[in-house]
């Protein structure tokens, strides 16, 4: 095996290796979609974020428009402060509402934005005022049982815990 053959094959190998990495980055991972886009940050406060995680998607009308970048707890209001990175290409009115939704039945949780009608748009550092918390299963069950009890006009049963 002479030198030029070795060089050729090593070159092919290294090129293929980087090609594999590129394939993983673009077709497999989410590199192409978001990291280089320009973004602006907004905040939203929730009483309960449920299973929302950092890097979870922010969607509007089902389209991914941003990412959750930070989740903090405010010791004064006892609420969760969620920071969202929104793609600069998408502008939302100031009265947009943010809800924590679940994708599918068992899927991951994400933030859904519903645009309002205000003429002024959200800008860097603004806070979304209308928020809806995540649905917590236990509260749902106790709500259901409570309403069932009220329906049958019986003395209120102890809500199941």
């Amino acid at each position: 095996m002479n030198r030029s053959m070795i060089d050729l094959w090593v070159g092919v190998f290294v090129a293929a290796g980087f090609g594999g990495l590129l394939f993983l980055a673009l077709k497999v991972g989410n590199l192409a979609s978001f990291s280089t886009a320009k973004a602006y940050q907004v905040q939203a406060n929730f009483l309960n974020i449920g299973g929302l995680k950092v890097r979870g998607p922010v969607k509007s009308a089902g389209v991914v428009v941003g990412r959750v970048t930070e989740i903090r707890f405010d010791t004064e209001t006892y609420k969760a402060i969620v920071t969202l990175d929104l793609d600069s290409a998408y502008q939302f009115p100031r009265d947009t509402s943010a809800k924590i939704l679940t994708s599918g039945i068992l899927g991951e949780q994400y933030i859904g934005l519903e645009a309002g009608g205000d003429g002024v748009m959200l800008k860097q550092g603004d806070r979304i005022r209308l928020t809806q918390d995540a649905v917590v299963l236990e509260n749902l069950i106790s709500q259901f049982l409570f309403s069932k009890a009220a329906e049958t006009k019986e003395p209120a049963k102890e809500p199941a815990k």
Binding site: W9, F13, N30
Partner: protein
């Protein structure tokens, strides 16, 4: 009588432990010497390139084929379980994350250890046994700089590339079985995968793992070869030791790295 044999056994055990620790110290000193004298391997890059050929290019076939099969099996097994929860469209996610995070670096590392690692150990050991190393020293050429360092860096460069190719090949295999054979929707396969696999968190961590494994395996391979007794039996034992020790090291390091990278942190 019993105390005597027990004591003898304990002494032997203690001796094994101390000699292992001594050997680890020797191996570490060897490693730092190797790093310090890597100048030749860098300046005369031809030597290192030749070693990338022997360690990397010649491992391509086994890596690509194994990757393909692993990906195909993942798709088969994964579909089996996922479709019970109606989550069969997440097959792409399952295959990609398993490969990129774990199976790519680990299995490619194990295959690399048995193919390239054992070859490196045998080669260096035989050079030592046939006095080629002594001849080099006699000609005032540092054998560690000339023979060992290029092999080390050749292995370290090859490993991440092989792991990436293993993962890519596996994902392709998963696609072949999942989409073409079983009939999972191609669009869902790729889109869910792209949504779930993160460049920094998953792919780069996988690359970091493969670099760490590459350093560990190649270090063990060159050390065992250099330290092998210059006999046929010595070299063959050293080769076996390389494969066994490298494999254990990969699995142990995988645990440590996974614990550091993929748990805790987020929220």
């Amino acid at each position: 009588m019993l105390i005597g044999t027990l004591r003898a056994r304990l002494e032997r055990l203690g001796g094994t432990v101390t000699s292992s620790i001594w050997r680890l110290g020797f191996a570490s000193r060897f490693f730092f010497y190797l790093l310090l004298h890597s100048g030749t391997a860098m300046r005369r890059f031809r030597l290192t390139i030749a070693q990338v050929y022997f360690a990397g290019v010649l491992s391509l076939v086994i890596i690509l084929v194994s990757g393909l099969f692993v990906g195909m099996v993942l798709a088969l097994q994964g579909y089996e379980t996922l479709q019970r929860f109606g989550a069969s469209e997440s097959l792409g996610v399952l295959v990609a994350l398993s490969l990129v995070r774990e199976l790519g670096p680990v299995v490619a590392g194990l295959l690399f250890a048995s193919r390239a690692g054992s070859a490196i150990t045998a080669e260096i050991g035989l050079m030592k046994a046939t006095e080629q190393i002594s001849a080099m020293e006699m000609m005032a050429v540092d054998p560690i700089a000339r023979v060992v360092a290029p092999r080390f860096w050749g292995g370290v460069i090859s490993m991440p590339l092989l792991a990436a190719l293993f993962s890519a090949s596996g994902i392709f295999g998963g696609y072949l079985v999942g989409v073409q054979l079983i009939g999972v929707d191609a669009g869902a396969f790729w889109s869910q995968m792209q949504a779930a696999v993160d460049w920094n968190h998953d792919i780069m961590n996988g690359v970091i793992k493969s670099v760490v494994f590459g350093v560990a395996v190649t270090w063990i391979a060159v050390f065992e070869g250099y330290d092998a007794p210059p006999t046929a039996e010595g070299v063959s034992r050293a080769t076996t030791r390389t494969v066994v020790t490298s494999s254990l090291a990969i699995l142990a390091l995988d645990f440590v790295l996974t614990a550091l990278m993929f748990t805790g942190g987020n929220h």
